[in-house]
Amino acid sequence: EAGVAQSPRYKIIEKRQSVAFWCNPISGHATLYWYQQILGQGPKLLIQFQNNGVVDDSQLPKDRFSAERLKGVDSTLKIQPAKLEDSAVYLCASSLQGAGETQYFGPGTRLLVL
């Protein structure tokens, strides 16, 4: 079975520019997650979708970050405008519905903001 796909793998932008990341979860997975992993830290949940709806976005900086999951499949995460501290790896994960279900992670998008 195909895993979680993410693109692009790498992105370099200047501060105040905008950037978008794309994620295609494993087929049939209702739940989709976006994590931010800053160098030297563990992943931090930004937003969790259950099908089309947002379950948790309490740690999403809503003044600059936005995310959507149209039709309950693919998802995009956008940053506008980017700040230096947004430099990180952005990981997408998906799982079947249920708290004990395994989250499967994509390879991530490494963002560098100059």
Binding site: V4, G42, L45
Partner: protein, 114 residues
């Protein structure tokens, strides 16, 4: 709020030696516990998880972990490591009563030397 502590940021070990990576979480009535591994430039891969039942959990690649409720610990062990085990290891907890969010520790870098 739930938190996860991985006391060792780096663990150097020789090949074929045993290793233990420590993980402690803040107290909670009911938790699910996970260990993930991250190889360079890749996403996270599940090693093992504890949901209920036997406190000794066996995972992939010869790893195992023991859930200790009284000490709120979930240490990861392997009796004999290989060079290929060199990676970053993350402990994570899901607190079922306060939030359904997966909380990660800061990670332990396992470096295996020949």
């Amino acid at each position: 709020a739930q938190s996860v502590t991985q006391l060792d940021s780096q663990v150097p070990v020789f090949e074929e030696a045993p290793v233990e990576l420590r993980c402690n979480y803040s107290s909670s009535v009911s938790v699910y516990l996970f260990w993930y591994v991250q190889y360079p430039n890749q996403g996270l891969q599940l090693l093992l998880k504890y949901l209920s039942g036997s406190t000794l959990v066996k995972g992939i690649n010869g790893f195992e972990a023991e859930f200790n409720k009284s000490q709120t610990s979930f240490h990861l062990r392997k009796p004999s490591v290989h060079i290929s085990d060199t990676a970053e290891y993350f402990c994570a907890v899901r607190d079922l009563y306060n939030t359904d969010k997966l909380i990660f520790g800061t990670g332990t870098r396992l470096q295996v030397f020949p």
